[in-house]
Symmetry: C2
Subunit: 329 residues, 2 copies
Amino acid sequence: MNDWAAQVLQGDRRALARVLTWVENAAAEGRAAWQALFPHAGRAHIVGVTGPPGAGKSTLVAALVQHWRQHHPQQRVAVLAVDPSSPYTGGALLGDRVRLTPRLAQDPAVFFRSMASRGAVGGLAQATEQAVQVLDAAGYNPIFVETVGAGQAEVDIMRLAHTVLVVQAPGLGDDIQAIKAGMLEIAHILVVNKADRPDAQRTRRILEEMLRLGPRRAAAWQPPVLLTVATTGQGVPQVAQAIVAHRQHLQRSGAWQQHEARRLQAALERALRDALWRRWRARVEPGRYDAVLQALARRELTPDQAAAQLLDDAPTLPTPPPRGDAGSP
Amino acid sequence: MNDWAAQVLQGDRRALARVLTWVENAAAEGRAAWQALFPHAGRAHIVGVTGPPGAGKSTLVAALVQHWRQHHPQQRVAVLAVDPSSPYTGGALLGDRVRLTPRLAQDPAVFFRSMASRGAVGGLAQATEQAVQVLDAAGYNPIFVETVGAGQAEVDIMRLAHTVLVVQAPGLGDDIQAIKAGMLEIAHILVVNKADRPDAQRTRRILEEMLRLGPRRAAAWQPPVLLTVATTGQGVPQVAQAIVAHRQHLQRSGAWQQHEARRLQAALERALRDALWRRWRARVEPGRYDAVLQALARRELTPDQAAAQLLDDAPTLPTPPPRGDAGSP
């Protein structure tokens, strides 16, 4: 058993923080710890929270965590805040953004973490998935995953979640429309936050109308549109109830297990693609690779033709492993 | 020579539109046409335009296109608008968003296209890259690529561009701060649009301060912060001049060629990863794959262990091709 993983399982918060940093940086130590923790994950309810900047997502998440601690005191709760890559937003800024009350910040049953990864394509979604699994293995449940914005990466991250909350504020204007629409597809619960503003009822009606016009949903779950004022806590218990109701719906309908199977299949495909690439890259002759790259730069070959030429010239058979060692990477 | 590609090279706009639709949908016809067009691409100046919703990006792009047509009448100009995936925003909504004047909309030397791809991880960036290459081969130059939002996918798309414009509007509030920061890193030209609003000078000072505090830039290019009112055209000539100046800077410094080489290397790596995966997947025994997937679902294996087990059991050597045929896929 990996030492760090063992400490995480024993509830050591400093070990947990360190493993999450490794996972975020795609460090080898993180991969080892995550592997050791993987068998212990798979229990937590993962709740995605997304929506445009200014909707009050962070305040809503803080209010939900507070509610959870009061009404489900036996559950430990984690928050993972995922932000677009930036060196400026390293720590302080993100810390400010999530307005944790002093009480929450000191609650040993609450774990807050921000990720500001600057990984490659898909890197952020993958690091987030692993971080969620680590928190899950550490016994946190539910785990709130908050994303800013609504790009493809955010949609990918939201696919991790069992339950997706899309948070809007009244009167964010027509330019937000497109983003709202993209996110509506994956929403299970819609929240109009800052509902003390005049346009709240109108925004709710627009969202309900968009839901009505949207693609028919297979299952019996009809996304509710709820009003909150996260700063005062108004409407927060109803959102918490909807989150629990959605989990129960998933578990009753079998969708929970399907979701789990889909996630694991995607993780396997990613691992296979990475391993195939690493193994092939370690074997290809550098001179050959560079020659094909130069032909590509001269546009004598397309990328597909260049790939075919390299693959057909360079055998990709890995050395057979010693027997009995097939399980280790 | 692919028929559709030949028509695109002859300037047939309907053929161009059709090839772009195929590329967007990752259809086989699109791949074939793109392969045929690839040798003809590599000349266009690709100008990325990004920034938060509400900054007025589309209006600014339309104003820039208009300026280009007046001052560089020999150049044909294309606009590719990339949007977060949504079935709602299929056509009409995007069409509305970009306020092309009737004159621009009918100008045969202007080509406008919106992409609303709902692809997998990395799919949008890849489809955008191919679409840009198709437009490039068709003789459009410059090509404006506009994205909404500032997630990882948008950053990836902006990496395609030689020149990145980041557009802000005054007083978009503190919640935008994080996104501004993430985008500043990749910006070559900063624009404060809607500069007739009271906060414009303050927003400019904030951006200049953030640039000053940001990571030092290697080359001699210092991103200017320009003020525009895109709806009236005010400041647009200065932005156009900055775009041309940045292109000249890239060409003088050799950065243009480096950018091209990086893009092609990334395209080759993607093609190799996809080909390795497809070839392996076609060879693996389905029963074996499912058995490993089930062990993964029971969490007896981690994804990495499952991948290693599958790869070490199933040889990945492709059949050697007949000699002299190595270049075809």
